[in-house]
C-alpha cells in the first residue's frame, strides 16, 4: 500500500532536517533561474507543438525569414535576431507555461505561434497581460477575432494571418452553388459534424446559408463523437437520409472518418472540411486510403499553384528541411514566413516593437501583394479595426485581409477547395481562378 501513518513517526530532529531541506531545495531551484536578456539581439519566440507537422511548419517558416533578415545585415540598426522555441506539446496548460517562459525568462520581443485553437485561447490572457506582439498562423477561430472586436485595446497586439472560420463558410456556400448545385445537380445535403466547438461553429454558419444562398436543402444533421471507433452506423444513417451528398466537418481524429468513408465505399459523395487532409503527408499517413476526399483549405494549400516569390520560399524550405516531416510547408509555414517578415518591416517603420501602439499601427498597414502572371495571386494584409467586410457586414480586426467575392481581385480568397484524387495527387478544384483540377466524385459512386 502507498498509505502509511503520518503520525508519531520520525523524530523531532528528523522534522527539522526535512523542513530545512525542503526550503533549501526550493530556494536552490529558484536561485539557478536564467537571467533576463540584455539589449543584444532581438528575440523572437516560437510557441507551438514541436512534434506536429503544423507546429514545425510555423517554426521553420519563421526560421527561414529570420535567417534571411540576419544574412541581410540584421534589423533595427544591425541587430541580429535570435529565435527561441517553447514547445506546447499541444497541451493547454503547457501552452500557458510556454508563453510565460517566452515572456519572462526569455524576454522575447515578438511571438509567432503555430498553436491549435484551445492552446491559443489558453495563452491569450497571458498575451493581454504581457502585451507582446503576437502573430497566430494556424488557428482560425473567429472567437479570438471577436475578442478584438469586443475589447480592442486589450488585444490589439494580436494578429492572425489566416482567414478566420467565418470567411470560409461563405466560400463553401459559393462552392455549393457553383459546383455542387449547378454542375453536379445536387439539391440536398446531410451534415456530418464532429462534436467539437469547431464543428458546432462551422455547422451553424454553413447550414444557415446553404438553403437561402445556394439552394441546397439540409435534410439532416448527424453529430458524432470524436472517439467513434466504427462509423458504419453513422454512414448508414447518412445514406438513409436520402440526401444527395454528405457535408463533413471534421478536425479531431479526422483520418478515421475519412479513411472509413473510403474503406466502406460509401455510395454517396462527400465533401466538406477535413483538417487531416490539409498537409502533403496525408497520402503517406493514410496509406493511400484518402482518395476522393475533398476539403476546404486555407491557402496556399496542397495542389495550389504558387506565385514565384512563394515558390522561392518553398524551394528554400525543401532544400533545408526536405528530408524531415513535413517535407513541404503547410499553409501556416508560408504564413509564418511572410508574417515574420512583415512584423519586422513594421518594427523598422515604428522604430522597434515598442512602443506597442506604433508597432501595431505599422503592422496593420503592412500590405504585400504577390503576383502571378501579372495577376493578384496572394495578399498578406490585415483588416483594420473599423473596416467592414462588405459581404458579411462585420469587422475582422487584425485578421488576414481575405476577399470573399469573386473574381478575387482585391485580395486572396479566404480558402480554396482541394481534392485528393484516387491516384494520390491533390488539386485545387475551386474557385475557378485558382483551380488546377476538377471536382470529381469517387469512382465507386455511380451517378
Amino acid at each position: 500500500m502507498i498509505t502509511s501513518s503520518g503520525n508519531g513517526r520520525g523524530t523531532e530532529m528528523g522534522w527539522t532536517i526535512r523542513t530545512v531541506a525542503a526550503a533549501a531545495a526550493i530556494s536552490a531551484l529558484a536561485a539557478t533561474a536564467a537571467l533576463a536578456a540584455d539589449d543584444g539581439p532581438v528575440k523572437v519566440g516560437f510557441i507551438g507543438s514541436l512534434a506536429s507537422d503544423t507546429g514545425r511548419s510555423t517554426l521553420r517558416g519563421a526560421q527561414i525569414a529570420i535567417d534571411e533578415l540576419n544574412e541581410g545585415g540584421g534589423v533595427l540598426g544591425g541587430r541580429q535576431i535570435e529565435l527561441v522555441t517553447a514547445d506546447t506539446g499541444e497541451d493547454v496548460t503547457e501552452g500557458i507555461k510556454a508563453y510565460e517562459y517566452l515572456a519572462e525568462t526569455e524576454n522575447v520581443d515578438f511571438i509567432v505561434s503555430g498553436s491549435i485553437d484551445d492552446v491559443s485561447l489558453g495563452w491569450l490572457p497571458r498575451m493581454v497581460e504581457y502585451k507582446i506582439p503576437t502573430l497566430d498562423t494556424w488557428t482560425s477561430y473567429i472567437g479570438i477575432i471577436d475578442k478584438l472586436v469586443e475589447d480592442y485595446d486589450a488585444h490589439k497586439m494580436y494578429f492572425m494571418n489566416i482567414a478566420s472560420d467565418e470567411a470560409l463558410a461563405t466560400l463553401y456556400v459559393d462552392f455549393g452553388k457553383d459546383v455542387l448545385k449547378d454542375k453536379m445537380g445536387w439539391k440536398s445535403v446531410v451534415i456530418l459534424q464532429e462534436d467539437t466547438a469547431f464543428g458546432n461553429a462551422i455547422n451553424g454558419l454553413v447550414s444557415g446559408l446553404l438553403a437561402p444562398e445556394a439552394g441546397i436543402e439540409v435534410v439532416d444533421t448527424i453529430v458524432y463523437d470524436t472517439q467513434t471507433v466504427d462509423f458504419s452506423p453513422i454512414f448508414s444513417k447518412a445514406v438513409d437520409s436520402g440526401a444527395d451528398f454528405i457535408y463533413l466537418i471534421s478536425s479531431v481524429n479526422g483520418q478515421v472518418v475519412a479513411s472509413q468513408y473510403v474503406k466502406f465505399q460509401v455510395p454517396m459523395p462527400m465533401t466538406g472540411i477535413s483538417v487531416a487532409a490539409l498537409g502533403q503527408e496525408y497520402w503517406e499517413d493514410t496509406g493511400g486510403a484518402g482518395g476522393g476526399i475533398s476539403t476546404l483549405s486555407p491557402i496556399p494549400s496542397v495542389g495550389f499553384a504558387l506565385d514565384p516569390k512563394s515558390q522561392e520560399f518553398a524551394d528554400k524550405y525543401i532544400a533545408r528541411f526536405g528530408d524531415e516531416r513535413p517535407k513541404f510547408p503547410h499553409f501556416n509555414g508560408f504564413n509564418a514566413y511572410w508574417g515574420t517578415l512583415q512584423a519586422f518591416a513594421a518594427a523598422e517603420e515604428a522604430g522597434g516593437f515598442e512602443p506597442l501602439d506604433a508597432w501595431v499601427a505599422a503592422m496593420q498597414d503592412q500590405d504585400m501583394i504577390l503576383e502571378k502572371d501579372g495577376e493578384l495571386w496572394l495578399r498578406y494584409g490585415f483588416w483594420k479595426p473599423d473596416e467592414v467586410e462588405p459581404r458579411t457586414g462585420r469587422t475582422y480586426p487584425h485578421n488576414l485581409r481575405f476577399d470573399i467575392t469573386p473574381p478575387y481581385e482585391d485580395g486572396a480568397p479566404s480558402m480554396v477547395v482541394i481534392q485528393w484524387y484516387e491516384d494520390g495527387t491533390a488539386k485545387v478544384v475551386y474557385p475557378p481562378k485558382y483551380a488546377t483540377g476538377e471536382f470529381q466524385v469517387p469512382s465507386w459512386i455511380k451517378q
Binding site: 532536517i17 525542503a22 493547454v92 507555461k97 510565460e100 519572462e104 525568462t105 485561447l121 469547431f198
Partner: protein
C-alpha cells in the same frame, strides 16, 4: 481534538514561510511563474493525498473535482457576471457536493474498483462538458478571458503561496489530531477501525469532504490565475498523472511530501525546457518519474528520511519499509 503541535513546529513553519516570502527578492519573475504552478500543483497533490494517502481510497478522478470547481467559478463569473467573491465560495460548495457523489461508490467498493469508478467520473465529465450546453461551457474550446484576481508574477506568487501554505497548515494540523490518526488507520485496515467502535462512514465522508473542499479551492483559484479553461486541460489523464505522481514522488500521506513532489516535478519539466526543447522532454520527465517511483514508492520523503537516518547511524522505521509493503 487537541492537536499535537509543539513550539518547534510553529517555529519551523514560520521559518519556511519567511523563506518563501523572501523568494521574489532573490529570483526572476520567470522562476516565480514556475513556483506559482508548483504551488497550485501542491494544493492538488495535497488534496489527493488527504483522500488517498490517508484512507487508501485511490482516486483516479481528482481532475473531476478540480475541474468542477474551476468550471463552476469560470462559468458563474464569465457567463453570468457573478463577482468572484461569490463565485469562488459557490464553486467550492459545488465541488463538495460533487465530492459526495464521489463518496457514494466508496460506501460499497474500494481498491482498484474504486479507482476505476473515479476514472469513469472524470471521463464522463470530459464528455459532458462538450455535449451539454456548449454555449455555456465553451465546449471543446473552453472559455478564455476569465477574470483574473491579480496580475503579475509577484502578486500571483504571494496569492498562490498564501493559499498553499494555509491549506498545508490546516491539513497538517488535522493529521496531528486523533481524527487524523483514525483516518490513517482506515488506510491500514478499515475493518479493525470499525471493530474498535468508530463510525468509518463518517470518518470517510469527512476525509472526502476535506479533499473535495481543497480541490475546489485550488481549482477555483487556479482558473482565476490561468484566465482560461478548457476540458482538455482539466479532465485529462495527463493532468491526473501529474497530480498523482507529484504526491507519490514526494511521499504519500505526509504533507511535506506532496509539496516537495509538486515543486520537484514542476521544476524538472520547466528546467528540461532549454536542454530538450522538443517532445523528448516529456519522455525524460516521465522516465525520471517512473524510475524514482520504482526505486522508492514512498517518495522523496522516505529517501530523505533514509539518508538522514543513515547520517545519524540509527535506523529509522522507514529503513524497514518492505514490511509495510
Amino acid at each position: 481534538m487537541a492537536a499535537d503541535i509543539r513550539l518547534r513546529h510553529v517555529l519551523l513553519w514560520g521559518l519556511f514561510i519567511a523563506g518563501m516570502c523572501l523568494l521574489p527578492f532573490v529570483t526572476t519573475p520567470g522562476t516565480l511563474r514556475t513556483v506559482i504552478f508548483a504551488n497550485y500543483l501542491a494544493i492538488f497533490a495535497m488534496s489527493w493525498d488527504f483522500l488517498t494517502g490517508r484512507t487508501g481510497y485511490v482516486s483516479f478522478g481528482h481532475p473531476f473535482l478540480i475541474g468542477i470547481g474551476a468550471y463552476s467559478t469560470a462559468i458563474l463569473s464569465y457567463r453570468f457576471g457573478v463577482p468572484v467573491a461569490i463565485s469562488i465560495p459557490a464553486a467550492v460548495l459545488i465541488t463538495m457536493l460533487a465530492g459526495t457523489l464521489f463518496f457514494l461508490p466508496a460506501l460499497r467498493i474500494r481498491g482498484s474498483y474504486f479507482a476505476l469508478v473515479t476514472l469513469a467520473f472524470m471521463e464522463l465529465m470530459y464528455q459532458l462538458v462538450q455535449v451539454i450546453r456548449p454555449d455555456i461551457t465553451g465546449g471543446t474550446r473552453g472559455i478564455s478571458g476569465v477574470q483574473t484576481l491579480t496580475s503579475g508574477a509577484f502578486n500571483n506568487f504571494y496569492l498562490s503561496f498564501a493559499l498553499m501554505v494555509v491549506i498545508a497548515i490546516v491539513l497538517w494540523t488535522l493529521t496531528r489530531t486523533r481524527l487524523g490518526t483514525a483516518l490513517s488507520a482506515i488506510g491500514m485496515n478499515e475493518e479493525s477501525v470499525r471493530g474498535s467502535g468508530l463510525n468509518t462512514t463518517k470518518l470517510k465522508l469527512f476525509s472526502f469532504m476535506v479533499s473535495a473542499c481543497v480541490a475546489g479551492i485550488g481549482g477555483a483559484f487556479y482558473v482565476h490565475y490561468l484566465g482560461s479553461i478548457a476540458p482538455r486541460a482539466l479532465f485529462d489523464i495527463n493532468f491526473l498523472f501529474t497530480i498523482i505522481v507529484a504526491a507519490l514522488i514526494g511521499g504519500a500521506s505526509t504533507i511535506i511530501g506532496p509539496m516537495a513532489g509538486a515543486f520537484f516535478l514542476t521544476f524538472l519539466l520547466e528546467y528540461l525546457r532549454p536542454v530538450l526543447p522538443g517532445s523528448e522532454r516529456y519522455f525524460i520527465y516521465g522516465a525520471i518519474a517512473l524510475v524514482l517511483y520504482m526505486y522508492q514508492p514512498k517518495g522523496l520523503y522516505a529517501i530523505v528520511e533514509d539518508l538522514a537516518g543513515r547520517v545519524r547511524r540509527k535506523p529509522t522505521q522507514d529503513t524497514v519499509r518492505d514490511r509495510a509493503a
